[in-house]
Amino acid sequence: MHRSSKSLARLTAVIYLHSVRTWRYKYSFINSSINTMLWITIFLLGVIMFVPSRELPVVAPQVFWGITVWNIITYTVVYISGWTTWFLVSMGLVEEHILHGLDLPALLAGRLVTVLAESAIAVPLVYFVLRGVAGPMKLVDSVGLLFYGLATAEAMALGYALILATLALRLSIPGPMLDITNFILFVIGGIAAPVARLPAPLRVVAILTPYSHAAEIVRYAATRTMPYLGLLAEVLISGALAIAMPAAAYIFYRFVEKHYLRRYGVRGVGRM
């Protein structure tokens, strides 16, 4: 078979596998979407209590998109690195895939099917709840830029999740538990709030946080909040990171597979 058609067949197989799996566990999937929506709503309603009523129409869309970007990032990390530990490792499927010459990162990347489907259900539900509390609001100004910002955030999260998943194959710690920066970076890393709104020392942290660049584009696309580094700079940085992070993760996995997994095997931690 031609190399490109072989790759296409594998890609189709991965997407098919994860689509079927999501359908097979449809109640878990629906429950998880509702669960996500409810937890986000609890926090959103809590945050609204801090904001004076007259500022809500301006602040609510910014909070909404900040939480949406974080939700996509978090679930990408949990669904990829967590699934690696709690499903692939527990079931002994890692060695099986390596022995058959199958591409583990591609299999893991297929989890994006479930992540995106879940976000597609949860995010609109959160919007309806927020609209009920904060009133009608304009959420999108530029669809193209919004899509670009969300897509680059997703690509960065994929790269990060694959790195954690690879580490989890050799450490006795599940992938999501390695993600210790998740909550901290959400608040101080320019994801939740515009970088310009952060105190001066935290702006440096935010600029160094890859996701903040994608979040700045999303905020601009939604509310015309000008990014701290300027729109063009953010578009270029986000694009570069969206390519570099998954590529680095792939190279890292290949290194670990060659030097550790094939020599010493997987270090499983089982179900917790």
Binding site: Y25, Y27, S28, N31, S32, I34, N35, L38, W39, T41, I42, F43, L45, G46, V47, I48, M49, F50, V51, P52, E55, V59, Q62, V63, S90, G132, V133, I173, M177, F183, I184, F186, V187, I188, A192, A193, R197, L198, R271, M272
Partner: protein
Amino acid sequence: MPSSFFDVVAAEFYAYTRFYKNNRAMMIAAFIWPYLMVLILLGLGYLFGSLSQYAVRMGVRNPVFFIVSASTVAMSSTFIVDEVANYTLYNRWNGTLSYILLTPMRLPKQLLAASIPSTLISPAISVTSALPVALYFEGLRGAAIIAALYAVIVLGMIPLAGLSVLIAGLVLTVREETNIANSITPFLLLVSGVFYPVAILPKALQLIAIAVPVKYVVDIARAIASTGTFSHEVFLAIYALTFMAFTYNALVAPLLGAIEEKVKRYAPF
């Protein structure tokens, strides 16, 4: 000699404490989690608004102490609902559910006995993690408030005991990979107004909240975290919880036999 209810409680207590002894990282995570919730809420609140605004709208004297207490309630007050379902799922994944079902003890009794240690220990870890903040802001009075909070959280879980067994049975019979009912927990917290007043919710949710035990736990937490005393409102909430403990479990009891039969027929496979 068949095992008694207390034998199972003792065995599960041993298993649960060994789990934490052998997973210290999990223990540390359990201590840190309420603070992560606090960090998100306070961080976003600070970036988009102000603490004084929150204090005024919530009617609390010390918003930081209140948010720490509320996070502890959010982490623990519905713990039993997920715990019983997760216990059964965990045993099915491990292949030990069949053995549990074969023991002479009735399944609902077995599940309740198994969940008691974790239901007592896990909230204890959560409230202990809030202790440094309580001592810092309120001194010894803060420690007394935290101790009272623990008692109220445990009391608030008693009305949910029967419901927890029903949910565990449902989760087993649908044969999915995760707890398909775990969105019940955030729903109970949502209508209880853990970080905000229930009055901002739609009318329908406010009506549902009246029947939800967690709402009264939140009311008590808010009252004792703001005044530090057991006011008239606190005693009314305790009466409501006691009433619900009897009524809800009595309502659920007749259904438990049917769910046990269904689980024994389908669940282990």
